[in-house]
């Protein structure tokens, strides 16, 4: 089970996490994964940037805040005996962290390698604290860094890719024996190392990825992600009052939901679990008895409903490339995506006009200008493309559910429901997965469209 940063953000939450560990370890073999406490990772990243600019004063100030917050929590969670030892450990890490920051400031250089090293302190600090908190409740624990637990990656610092077979082998070798001695291993999320032992981080999806890798290696029955919400909902409850918790979704559906903005696991993190068909349960650490949402390989319909959830992504724009010369020039579409890709513009949706004379891409608002500039440079003046247009301030509505495939008329119902509320659909995605239908509306219409669909498909029971 993995505890997110919000589930460890203060002493009382730490204790709550320890209680959860104690409760479930009575009749289960458990490995715990700890995220960095609260906002630590963001703070460390900020410290790194400040140090790189040579602003050692502000870097130090933020640094002492991070150090103090970890120091402060110790006497609140540990027993008498544990306190001294843990404090020593924390101070040791704190001074190592300090030296790292000084080093970055001296060199005025923050390489991906040194950034990973810097960021790793978040989890390296939180993990011994969670371990000691659990020890104080009478549990036998042992803290591990991801590297010590056996997670090995390639040398792609910043977003390292695990060498899964090596990792699986080492994880089994190192963690399984602890269970026989009734010890709960507590592993740093997010942090791993290369074959040579340099610290790497797993990038987006970080700690969840760690949990999924450990679960897959150890053939866990379930992987639990403790967070601050009850699970995935049929819609954002701030938009739809009667939105309800989804008891189960498939990996495919989860992928769509996470892609379309639901606050949950990164698709990358789900992969090891999906591959080994290990269900992932999202649970609320403040309400441990609530079952949460189970993400699994089975595509259970939600009480016979074809649609499971509808989500809204705000702040997107549409970039449209058009030109009569595009008809019958097959290379243009490829060139568009290649250009956007090499300029780090993330394309969320595409649509091509039936006449082949236009291609529209949905991208984040803040990337619209970059996208337009790049496309102008790459495509204009070659005779194919006449115009590159942009529209900002739109939003994407994604309707997700595995039951949609093979059920005729779902799209018609969606668009009729939306039209009835006088919402104008600006663009429809083509050929995306069979698990979802997505389309773009003006940002003023977004909430209304979500409510229309939620109601049409009776998602709120």
């Amino acid at each position: 089970m993995k505890f997110g940063g919000t589930s460890l953000s203060q002493a009382s939450k730490m204790k709550n996490a320890a209680k959860i560990l104690q409760k479930f370890s009575a009749s289960n073999k458990i490995v715990a994964v700890a995220s960095a406490i609260g906002e630590t990772t963001d703070q460390l990243a900020a410290i790194g940037e400040l140090a790189k600019k040579g602003d050692l004063k502000r870097a130090r100030k933020l640094l002492s805040k991070v150090q103090a917050s970890h120091r402060k929590i110790v006497p609140l969670i540990a027993g008498k005996a544990g306190t001294r030892e843990l404090l020593e450990r924390i101070e040791q890490l704190n001074s190592e962290l300090e030296r790292t920051v000084e080093g970055i400031a001296h060199l005025r250089e923050l390489t991906p390698r040194s950034r990973d090293y810097l960021l790793s302190f978040g989890e390296r600090l939180s993990t011994p604290i969670l371990a000691e908190t659990a020890t104080a409740t009478g549990l036998r624990t042992r803290p591990f860094t991801g590297a010590e637990a056996g997670i090995t990656t390639d040398d792609n610092f910043g977003e390292a890719k695990p060498l899964v077979e090596i990792s699986y082998h080492q994880i089994r070798q190192r963690l399984e024996p602890l269970w026989n001695r009734k010890v709960v291993p507590i592993v740093t999320g997010f942090v791993a190392s290369t074959v040579d032992g340099s610290i790497t981080t797993l990038g987006r999806g970080g700690s969840d990825y760690t949990a999924a890798l450990l679960g897959a290696a150890l053939a866990a029955e379930e992987i639990w992600i403790w967070t601050d919400v009850d699970g995935l909902m049929t819609a954002d409850p701030r938009i739809v009052k009667d939105a309800v918790l989804l008891p189960n979704v498939s990996f495919g559906e989860a992928l769509e939901l996470s892609f379309f903005g639901a606050k949950m696991m990164h698709p990358r993190a789900l992969q090891p679990a999906a591959q080994k068909k290990i269900p992932v349960r999202i649970k609320n650490s403040s309400h441990p008895s609530v079952n949460g949402t189970l993400v699994s390989a089975s595509e259970l319909p939600n009480g016979g409903k074809v649609v499971k959830a509808v989500s809204l992504i705000r702040d997107v724009g549409i970039v449209t490339v058009s030109g009569t010369g595009m008809m019958g020039s097959p290379g243009v579409a490829a060139k568009v995506f290649q250009t956007l890709g090499s300029n780090n513009v993330n394309v969320m949706m595409i649509s091509q006009g039936s006449s082949e004379a236009t291609i529209s891409c949905v991208v984040a608002n803040k990337e619209v200008d970059r996208a337009v500039r790049a496309l102008q440079l790459a495509l204009m003046g070659q005779g194919f493309v006449d115009k590159i247009a942009e529209e900002k301030d739109a939003c994407v509505i994604a309707v997700v559910g595995s039951g949609m495939k093979g059920t005729p008329g779902v799209a018609a119902r969606i668009f009729t429901a939306v039209a009835r509320r006088k919402v104008n659909v600006r663009m429809v995605a083509q050929g995306s997965s069979e698990y979802n239908v997505s389309f773009v509306v003006s940002h003023t219409d977004g909430a209304e469209a979500v409510r229309a669909i939620h109601e049409e498909f009776n998602l709120g029971h």
Partner: protein, 338 residues
């Protein structure tokens, strides 16, 4: 090509002789001269940057039982992983004893070699049986070869056959007899009504079975080969723990006779199916091509379009294994020009 030997027993010594005998041919045909720069055995090591003096090494080993007495550079009690990581050699030939509990010392030797950028040729099945997917991944990551022709079918090239003669063919299942020792024992029990113990003793006397026959008769050797075949030919991430293993020590002559009456024979069969693998005594029809006698091995590939294809041949011995290792060295040379 500079080579480190980790292990210098039957196979290691046979290899050194083959390399010496075939030196001219290898130089002429492939343009490289394998140069043995380091040898490690259980007691120590010896080293010569310019290539060890092979007759002297053999004589030293024979006389003292260890290369640690090699004049000049012989040393006692060295740590083989340190020697491997410090060395500039390009290839490690791993022939230490098979260990199915933790794979050591071979597993650490291979990990160290690949991590420090050396190619590996192993005849030792232990590390592969326990961690083949991980070791292959490490080799890929470091862009080095991990060769193991000597581990399965050193005598009959099952691995190369499947890889080279059946590309594009979908192999659905594989089954076979992969251990000559147990096949000999079962044959003797059946033909002469010997008890398991008697047949085992006879196999040991003939040099087919080792003093401690556990790995053979309990099915671990066959299982290790099954793991290697499953990974290499069928791209399955299996290790020893995924194989359901039963040996032959509980089989009685009576059971074999009862089978005989029904026109079937009991053989120790290794099997790979879609998502499982097993090693256990099975009854197979006497006219099944997989059903071979004595120390022979046989492997049947069940393919989607070409039906069943069976390869029959001798099991491995020291010299055959050595020649498989030479094949591996040549293929490394061809690919990497080391």
């Amino acid at each position: 090509m500079r080579i480190i030997f980790a292990g210098f027993g039957t196979v290691g010594q046979a290899l050194i002789k083959v390399l010496r005998q075939d030196e001219q041919r290898i130089v002429q045909a492939y343009g490289f001269r394998p140069q043995l720069t380091t040898i490690v055995d259980s007691q120590g090591s010896c080293f010569d940057e310019a290539g060890l003096n092979i007759p002297l090494v053999l004589k030293t080993k024979e006389k003292y039982g260890t290369v640690a007495k090699y004049p000049g550079s012989g040393r006692r009690n060295d740590d083989s992983t340190r020697i491997i990581s410090d060395s500039d050699a390009e290839v490690v030939v791993e022939t230490t004893p098979t260990n199915f509990k933790d794979g050591e010392p071979g597993l650490s030797n291979i990990k160290t070699a690949l991590s420090t950028g050396k190619h590996v040729v192993t005849a030792n099945k232990g590390p592969l049986a326990l961690a083949m997917p991980a070791l292959l991944e490490l080799a890929r990551h470091r862009n080095r070869r991990l060769c193991f022709s000597g581990t399965v079918g050193g005598g009959t090239p099952f691995l190369d056959f499947a890889a080279k003669c059946m590309p594009g063919e979908r192999i659905a299942r594989i089954k076979g007899i992969l251990n000559g020792t147990t096949n000999y024992i079962l044959t003797r029990m059946e033909n002469s009504s010997l008890t398991f113990q008697k047949a085992l003793a006879e196999a040991q006397k003939k040099g087919y079975a080792e003093k401690d026959p556990t790995n053979d008769v309990e099915g671990f050797d066959t299982a290790a080969k099954i793991v290697i075949i499953a990974n290499w030919i069928l791209a399955k991430s299996f290790s020893l723990r995924d194989v359901d293993i039963t040996g032959i020590s509980k089989i009685t002559p009576r059971k074999l006779r009862a089978a005989q009456a029904l026109g079937v024979k009991v053989k120790l069969i290794g099997r790979i199916e879609e998502s499982s693998a097993s090693v256990r005594p099975e009854e197979i029809r006497a006219d099944d091509p997989t059903c071979v006698p004595d120390t022979l091995n046989a492997l049947t590939f069940s393919t989607e379009h070409a039906g069943d294809i069976t390869l029959i041949g001798p099991g491995a011995g020291g010299e055959r294994t050595a020649s498989a290792i030479v094949r591996d060295l040549v293929s490394i040379r061809k690919e990497y020009a080391v």
